[in-house]
């Protein structure tokens, strides 16, 4: 398990009240049990938000770097990330299939927790397909969970997928400051696409996002 993942688990455990912590420990134990059973992980993941309902999240300073820029994240969502890191460890080589399944079966909150946890997982490049696929979601919070305030896409996406994500962020009206690593990942093709979008907007008599000139100067 990555050091970020174990640090998050420790921080969350010491932050929760006794009952919540006992539930989390029990869920973690059921996930660690071998042979690994996907159904136990899926069930714990679904229940986490209700079991920890009302518990506040951690202060930014107590979170791993990859989670610090996220908007308010409650204890239930953090618990889901902790459960996911444990399930990835326990499922071994089946981890990519497990993560894809957790994402597929999840409601929108569960999907967001999967996406936010990706940078904390061992060998994170294994999960890039889930994140690229999530960019196709029309549920905006799910799209934002890949595109905004998290480093995974900039670290792992190929150029084409990253460019599509940035274009979609522009379409949706997301301020591009929220796309982490954009300045490092900018390239002539992405810039061309952004200016193509600006041209289409101008031709239609619509306003052009100011971010296009700001992030893709010519």
């Amino acid at each position: 398990m990555s050091s970020d993942a174990s640090a998050l688990r420790q921080q969350l455990r010491s932050h929760l009240d006794a009952d919540s912590c006992a539930w989390l420990d029990k869920a973690l134990a059921s996930i660690a049990e071998q042979p690994f059973a996907e159904a136990r992980a899926l069930n714990a993941f679904a229940l986490a938000s209700r079991k920890l309902r009302g518990a506040a999240g951690l202060a930014a300073a107590s979170l791993p770097e990859a989670l610090r820029s996220l908007p308010e994240t409650g204890a239930g969502a953090l618990a889901r990330m902790v459960l996911l890191t444990a399930a990835v460890e326990a499922s071994g080589a089946a981890a990519p299939a497990l993560v894809a399944e957790l994402f597929r079966q999840g409601d929108s909150d569960e999907k967001c927790a999967v996406l936010h946890a990706l940078p904390l997982l061992d060998e994170p490049a294994r999960f890039v397909d889930v994140a690229v696929n999530a960019c196709r979601s029309s549920v905006q919070p799910v799209f934002e969970a890949v595109a905004c305030d998290t480093p995974y896409a900039a670290q792992r996406f190929g150029d084409a997928a990253f460019a599509q994500m940035v274009l979609k962020a522009l379409f949706v009206g997301i301020p591009l400051e929220r796309v982490q690593g954009l300045r490092e990942r900018t390239n002539p093709e992405l810039s061309r696409m952004a200016h193509g979008y600006a041209s289409e907007r101008r031709a239609a008599g619509r306003t052009v996002p100011e971010d296009i000139d700001r992030f893709f100067p010519r």
């Binding site: 899926l42 679904a46 209700r50 409601d107 929108s108 029309s138 549920v139 905006q140 379409f171």
Partner: protein, 295 residues
């Protein structure tokens, strides 16, 4: 007055309906999983439908300031299809575990076949295990007998009656339901089931305890505004505001809160709207529309 529509199939409705419902005061709804008109031949079709209720439809409702809950089940009609019935039951508990799933439903009878009996009972057992209420559809044909058998099955299974909502009641079935501890839903339809004037008469005769009204609007001729219209009809008939509010707000809230998955206090405050969460191409808003934001 906030309104709660406890039975409406929004996946079959347009954004015009969401807009009109929001304008008429509907802030909370429950969408039960049901028959889609076209038979499904694979379990995966049910799974994607359930995921649609938990995902896209919930988001779509939120764009109009409406809180969307759902109930999930194998519906009575498709309980007769061996291609899907067992597979759906096997997969169902996984989705019943999700946030915002407030009952097992619609279950019940359609043709009153042995298969329907079996899956009705099996799903009552699942509800018992998961400590969820159930929403029971009553049949269009032989309704009175279907209602009697539904009530008898609930009793045989020793399922807590206060967690049972028997739906689509008429003048002939309502007294049967009220004689038990179950709750009674009424689907106000343009032509069939129940209408506003008859509903007013029922409330005058039986009072407001355990009585709910819904639009049951779906892909057929139906009206997504039947809850506000019924509230208006009750008002015009001189029924006191507190009684109206009990039927169109408190009762559904109290019934579905038994799932433990509804924050009742949060709903007593008005729900906000934030359409800046828009998405061109696949969104509820289209280019040029100004997003509505109401804190």
């Amino acid at each position: 007055m906030q309104l709660f529509d406890p039975h409406i199939h929004m996946t079959s409705r347009t954004t015009d309906d969401y807009q009109a419902m929001a304008a008429a005061g509907v802030t909370v709804l429950v969408e039960p999983a049901f028959w889609l008109g076209q038979p499904r031949t694979q379990v995966g079709s049910f799974e994607d439908y359930f995921l649609g209720l938990l995902g896209w439809e919930r988001f779509r409702a939120s764009q109009f300031g409406i809180k969307h809950y759902c109930t999930l089940a194998l519906n009575p009609k498709e309980a007769n299809d061996p291609r899907v019935a067992d597979g759906v039951l096997e997969m169902l508990p996984r989705y019943l575990a999700k946030d915002g799933v407030v009952a097992v439903g619609e279950i019940g009878f359609d043709d009153m076949t042995p298969a329907e009996d079996r899956y009705f009972a099996a799903q009552i057992e699942i509800a018992k295990e998961l400590d969820l209420p159930v929403m029971v559809h009553t049949p269009h044909r032989d309704k009175k007998r279907g209602t009697e058998r539904s009530l008898a099955l609930v009793k045989e299974q020793r399922f807590p009656e206060e967690k049972v909502l028997i739906d689509h009641n008429t003048e002939e079935t309502l007294p049967l339901v009220l004689a038990t501890g179950c709750w009674a839903g009424h689907s106000i339809y343009p032509h069939t089931k129940m209408d506003e004037a008859r509903m007013v008469a029922l409330v005058k005769q039986y009072g407001t305890d355990r009585i709910l009204v819904n639009s049951a609007a779906d892909w057929g001729v139906s009206d997504a505004l039947k809850v506000p219209k019924t509230a208006e009809a009750m008002r015009a008939a001189g029924i006191p505001e507190a009684d109206i509010e009990k039927v169109v707000w408190d009762n559904p809230l109290v019934f579905f809160a038994q799932s433990g998955r509804i924050d009742v206090e949060a709903h007593r405050k008005a729900t906000g709207i934030d359409q800046t969460q828009k998405f061109e191409g696949n969104s509820v808003l289209r280019g040029g529309q100004a997003p509505l934001v109401r804190p």
